[in-house]
């Protein structure tokens, strides 16, 4: 391995994380480092070299930087970016997806035939109901903000506190929750078994016919099909440099520089780890009136270190799913970005940067069934 290889862009990229050429203030910093603290520079070089070695070890070969001839702009290397394009949905039986779609919209899954899954996860409203707290059966107010059903298959766990490992397990809770659908499997099964069209559909797809596991499988299969590929940002990641504009590119850079991408990364731009809400300041003390739901993962594990710890929500289509946070307290993306900056970063980042980041977040809106989500 030759660290001094001029084709090795990794060292400079790693340094770029610390000292960015586009950032005037950090440029300034770099000058100071170089002039007065040469040992720091050496440390940086060692850091870069080590990173390079690790990357080489991980990848097996050094990537070459691709450049477009016309603009000379760097094409993002998807494997190097913290965010990955949305993968295509897994191959699934279209009949099962259709059946799941029907079940997802069927109000008979609730105790009094009034609430369907789609009641809160409205596919025409970004997969949510756009309310801070959803209403369930008998207009009961829910205790937590409804997360979007779009790309829910990308989440490593389900629910804000990650208490369900799979989409199938997730279905159990809202169905039995007395404030949500307030039903039972025997009640649902007797209703669906009385419907000859369901009996026929299930008989052709599941050897066991209509039972709780086949219903859950159909719904989960449908939900896994709800991926939103081909957002403008994904096109950018794939090399279409004009897919997002200058301001949005700057927003993305800030998103990475300010550390947002530490948690909001991966294909789902989040949804693959837990994080404490309020790292640099205590959000809940500031907000007041702590409820059970605010305890987050503590409710699942009972461990003190999990108090206020939540699944990091994915930011795909985030522009469509206001209000934000598990308590639905942020009515706009600007408000949400500011809260994140304050409690996760410990500072205010200013109106301009907030706007740029929000502009970038807008590029994460993808397509469902060939048309842009609205």
């Amino acid at each position: 391995m030759d660290v001094a290889d001029p084709g090795d862009r990794l060292p400079s990229e790693s340094v770029g994380n610390i000292v960015s050429r586009h950032d005037v203030s950090t440029w300034h910093l770099r000058k100071q480092i170089m002039s007065k603290h040469s040992f720091l520079l050496a440390a940086g070089l060692i850091l870069a070299a080590l990173s390079g070695c690790l990357a080489y070890w991980a990848r097996g070969s050094f990537p070459t930087r691709a450049k477009t001839a016309a603009t000379g702009q760097a094409i993002p290397d998807p494997s190097r970016e913290p965010i990955r394009p949305v993968p295509p949905p897994a191959e699934s039986d279209p009949d099962k997806v259709a059946l799941g779609h029907r079940l997802f919209h069927d109000r008979r899954l609730s105790g009094d035939d009034t609430i369907s899954c789609a009641h809160c996860h409205d596919l025409t409203k970004g997969g949510t109901d756009r309310l801070s707290h959803s209403t369930g059966i008998d207009s009961e107010l829910g205790t937590i903000n409804t997360p979007t059903v779009f790309n829910s298959g990308l989440n490593f766990k389900q629910f804000w506190d990650g208490r369900a490992a799979t989409l199938e397990d997730q279905i159990e809770d809202p169905i039995h929750d007395p404030k949500e659908m307030n039903s039972t499997w025997p009640a649902i099964l007797s209703k669906l078994r009385g419907d000859p069209t369901y009996v026929a559909s299930f008989a052709s797809l599941y050897p066991a016919g209509i039972d709780s596991s086949s219903i859950k499988d159909a719904i989960a299969t449908f939900e896994r099909s709800l991926v939103t590929p081909d957002s403008r940002f994904d096109r950018y990641l794939r090399g279409d440099m004009d897919a997002i504009d200058v301001v949005e590119k700057e927003g993305y850079r800030l998103f990475k520089v300010y550390g947002c991408a530490s948690c909001h990364q991966g294909a789902g731009v989040g949804g693959n780890m837990y994080a404490r809400f309020g790292v640099m300041a205590n959000y809940f003390a500031d907000r007041g009136k702590v409820t059970r739901e605010d305890l987050g993962r503590f409710n699942v594990t009972g461990k003190e270190k999990d108090r206020y710890r939540f699944k990091v929500p994915g930011l795909r289509n985030v522009a469509l799913t206001a209000p934000y946070f598990h308590d639905g307290s942020a009515p706009t993306l600007e408000a949400a970005v500011n809260v994140m900056a304050k409690y996760q970063l410990g500072r205010e980042i200013g109106l301009e940067d907030t706007t740029r980041i929000v502009r970038f977040l807008g590029t994460l809106t993808g397509e469902y069934q060939g048309s842009l989500l609205k």
Binding site: S25, S51, V257, G259, A275
Partner: protein, 868 residues
């Protein structure tokens, strides 16, 4: 039994042992253990990759945690699949499950550590990313109003922190904590906006220092999670189990070898014994063969004799078969000949009858008229005989089938008996017909054949009755649902039949007394045919008789109940109407009284003119005069007139309406007080009587009208242009004359093609088509005609005329597009009715034909086709 079951049992036991042994040697576990080994290696590989990814994340070479989650999911899936495929019981089952549970617990531990790592690592990353920004901010504020010293300190500190994140040297921690405290102290002395920035820098630095330690410890624990060891443990257990399986299989295999050797030896022994046995059997066989040869020779001798006898018998049998076949074919030929001949004879006979009828209609000398009359009656008799023979030969050949159609017996039975009424009238015998109220109004059956039987029975009765009455009674018995057992009794007051001849009369060509043939005529086939027809209808025909007093013939038949033609309720106006019936015959009086009673009228009866007058006067005095007087028309004319004169002289009876009951053709139109007196034909058809009463009393819906009496052969109200397609010149002439006498204009066509040409040229109201014609027959021509009419909206009424009278003819004709089906000989009354039905506007309403809306099928369904 025991002799066979022993080796069978032995074989079964052998087979069981063998298959058991073989089954146990199968080392199908091998595949399983190989697969499990692969999976364990997979787990170890995935675990290694996961550890790599964790280190990469640590050193920021990996930007996202998706791959960590993927690795965990794969590990969990592999672990679960191992558990799914693990054997439940057995000596290894327990060990294996325990080890697998341990593996899964270890995986859970790993998962939790990975989660913790991701959270903490993100925080460090966040803070490391932020440090340069914080330092730059400090530098910026320093430039604006500070001395640069603070930012210098901050930058120096930044370097140390970054170095620490790389080395992770725990010895540095205490020093770094000190530096952070120092920074805080410096911050305390600064103006607020710079103080905040420096504090934030210190906060992030502390976050890095603390979390770095945590992350390092988490990573160390992560890498120490003993998944590879668990895998190795499991591998060992699988290996152990596999070895044990192999060992057991080896033992069983050895057993199988041993058993096979024993088996081979047993087989060899058995073979040897078999060989010895075979030799002995061969010797015994030779003995046996010799004996058999001797016996066979003796048998052969006997056989020779037998063969000769069999041959002879066979010859005889062949002869017999030939004879039977010849007889059968002769019989069949006879039957066919008869059927054909009858048909061939009928054509010229129709000519004779038709022409004679035409001749009789002209002005003739009495002598000629007498001769022609005899010709006519002879021809009629001959026709009847021919028809009987045709029917009989059909029955004999089994070719006679019934043709069920719905019919209303109350309407059609009097019609059927009408031809006999004239004969009865001339002999002075009363012919009465009574249908019991229990009989359904509409039934489904072959009424043509039913009529044939009743006509035959009533005709016979009349033939052998010189005075008194012939009564036809119809009753209904219960049968299965939807069916009715119809009973018809024909009772006469004639000469009677001797008891010992009663059975013989139903035999072919027989009459009660051989000598009567000459006096009464007839073929003697009628009753035979009638009985066979009754049996075809699921019924019987029998007779009881008393010599000198009379006979009664009983007929039963199973018929369907029609649904569409329900008995209509009596009209409202009939209720309580006072009617006096005057008839010398008690039976007729009874029948009429019952009929009127069914309509809820209040009838009274009188047997003579005198009694009638008495009743009339008594009723008038009591203030309830009779509204209607039903007067038997055959009371001598003067008597009737006398009665009417008396009635006129009594003002109380001025309102009484008079209706005459008369036999058709035996009553001149009768006028009284300048008005035609209304007449009703006997035997009385209920609907006709009710209609006449309604009309005459002006109570019925139809107003009174001056109508000719009974049912005359009145000319049609409108002259029609008709086309006749008929190839036989005699039939042409007969038909043309009959139709022209009705006032119609007739164009004749010799075959179907000519007819179609004529129809194309001229304008016709209706057409009559013979079926059998040269060049183009009637069916073809009418089918073509219907094709041409398609889309024009026109439909020419077509009547089929055929001499065939065979089963299926009607269906063929109707299918070809004809509207009505009539059989030859041509009967003008039938044609008149058919034309009236097809062209209702051409006839007066309220005529013999019901003025219903004309439907092709209902017309075709009515028994217009008389097949005798």
């Amino acid at each position: 039994m025991t002799k066979h079951s022993k080796p069978l049992l032995f074989g079964f036991v052998l087979a069981t042992i063998l298959s058991l042994l073989y089954w146990n040697t199968r080392t199908e576990g091998r595949e399983y253990y190989l697969r499990m080994g692969d999976r364990l290696r997979d787990i170890q590989r995935i675990d290694a990759v996961l550890n790599q990814d964790i280190l990469k994340s640590c050193s920021r070479a990996l930007g996202d945690y998706d791959s960590l989650n993927r690795g965990l999911t794969d590990l969990r899936e592999s672990g679960r699949s191992l558990l799914r495929d693990a054997p439940v019981g057995g000596d290894i089952g327990v060990d294996l499950r325990a080890a697998l549970d341990e593996l899964l617990a270890t995986l859970d531990e790993k998962e939790q550590l990975v989660e913790e790592f991701a959270s903490r690592n993100a925080v460090i990353k966040n803070s490391i990313d932020y440090l340069p920004i914080a330092a730059a901010d400090m530098a910026e504020t320093d430039q604006k109003g500070g001395d640069g010293r603070v930012s210098e300190i901050a930058n120096a500190f930044l370097g140390e922190i970054l170095l620490y994140t790389l080395t992770g040297d725990s010895g540095q921690i205490a020093r770094l904590e000190e530096r952070i405290e120092a920074l805080r102290r410096i911050a305390g002395g600064l103006p607020p906006n710079r103080r905040d920035r420096l504090s934030l820098l210190a906060d992030h630095a502390r976050m890095i220092v603390r979390q770095k330690r945590q992350v390092d410890s988490v990573v160390a624990r992560l890498l120490a999670v003993p998944i590879p060891r668990r895998g190795t443990d499991l591998q060992e257990i699988y290996q152990r189990a596999h070895d044990r399986d192999l060992e057991r299989a080896g033992i069983v295999q050895a057993g199988l070898y041993l058993f096979s050797i024993v088996l081979v030896m047993v087989m060899v022994n058995v073979m040897r014994q078999l060989r010895a046995g075979t030799i002995e059997v061969n010797r015994a066989n030779e003995n046996l063969e010799r004996r058999v040869r001797d016996r066979t020779e003796a048998l052969f001798q006997n056989n020779q004799a037998l063969v000769q006898e069999v041959a002879e018998r066979k010859r005889t049998e062949d002869h017999l078969n030939h004879a039977i076949a010849a007889a059968d074919s002769a019989n069949r030929a006879k039957g066919e000949f008869l059927a054909n001949m009858s048909h061939e004879i009928r054509t010229p006979m129709n000519g004779i009858i038709g022409m004679t009828a035409l001749a009789l209609a002209n002005d003739l000398t009495p002598e000629t008229r007498t001769y022609l009359g005899m010709v006519k009656s002879s021809a009629d008799s001959l026709m009847a005989i021919i028809n009987d023979i045709l029917d009989f030969s059909k029955i004999e050949a089994g070719k006679l089938t019934l043709d069920p159609q719905p019919f209303r017996i109350r309407d059609v039975l009097p019609d059927a008996l009408e031809p006999l009424a004239a004969l009865a009238h001339s002999k002075g015998v009363e012919l009465v017909c009574r249908v019991d109220p229990s009989v359904p109004n509409s039934m489904v059956g072959d009424f043509g054949r039913l009529r044939q039987i009743v006509f035959n029975l009533a005709g016979n009765a009349l033939k052998f009755t010189e005075k008194g009455e012939v009564v036809v009674r119809v009753v209904a018995g219960t049968a299965r649902t939807g069916e009715v057992e119809l009973g018809i009794a024909v009772c006469d007051t004639g000469i009677g039949i001797r008891a010992d001849r009663l059975a013989a009369i139903f035999e072919s060509f027989t009459q009660a007394d051989g000598s009567t043939t000459r006096k009464y005529g007839g073929t003697g086939l009628g009753l035979t045919i009638s009985r066979r027809l009754a049996e075809l209808m699921g019924g019987r025909l029998w007779a009881v008789s008393e010599l000198g007093k009379g006979s009664t013939f009983y007929l039963t038949a199973n018929l369907g109940i029609g649904s569409s033609l329900a008995l209509s309720p009596p009209p409202f106006w009939a209720k309580g109407l006072r009617v006096l019936v005057v008839d010398p015959n008690a039976t007729t009086r009874g029948v009429l009284e019952e009929m009127l009673g069914q309509w809820r009228m209040r009838p009274a009866v009188a047997g003579s003119q005198g009694d009638a007058l008495g009743e009339l006067l008594r009723a008038a005095e009591s203030g309830e005069p009779f509204s209607v007087l039903l007067l038997e028309g055959s009371l001598t004319g003067s008597d009737v007139i006398g009665l009417l004169e008396r009635m006129r002289s009594l003002p109380a009876l001025a309102e009484t309406v008079v209706i005459l009951l008369a036999t058709v053709g035996h009553l001149e139109p009768f006028r009284w007080r300048g008005q035609a007196v209304s007449m009703v034909a006997k035997p009385v058809r209920p609907s006709n009587l009710l209609e006449a009463i309604g009309r005459e009393t002006s109570l019925g819906r139809r107003g009174s009208s001056e109508r000719p009496p009974a049912r005359p052969e009145a000319p049609a109200a409108r002259s029609l242009r008709l086309l006749l397609a008929e190839d036989n010149p005699i039939n042409q002439k007969v038909a043309v004359r009959l139709l022209e006498r009705q006032g119609h204009t007739v164009t004749v066509a010799g075959n179907g093609r000519i007819a179609l040409d004529a129809l194309g040229r001229g304008d016709f109201d209706a057409a009559l088509f013979d079926v059998q014609m040269p060049e183009m027959d009637g069916l073809e021509a009418v089918a073509e005609l219907r094709r041409r009419e398609e889309g024009t909206g026109r439909r020419l009424p077509v009547i089929a005329l055929t001499a065939h009278a065979m089963k299926g003819d009607r269906e063929r004709c109707l299918a070809a597009g004809m509207d009505v089906y009539l059989t030859k000989p041509i009967r003008i009354e039938e044609i008149r009715q058919a034309l009236a039905a097809l062209l209702p506007s051409a006839h007066e309403a309220g005529d013999a034909v019901e003025p219903q809306p004309v439907q092709r099928l209902s017309i075709a369904g009515q028994p217009l086709a008389r097949r005798r």
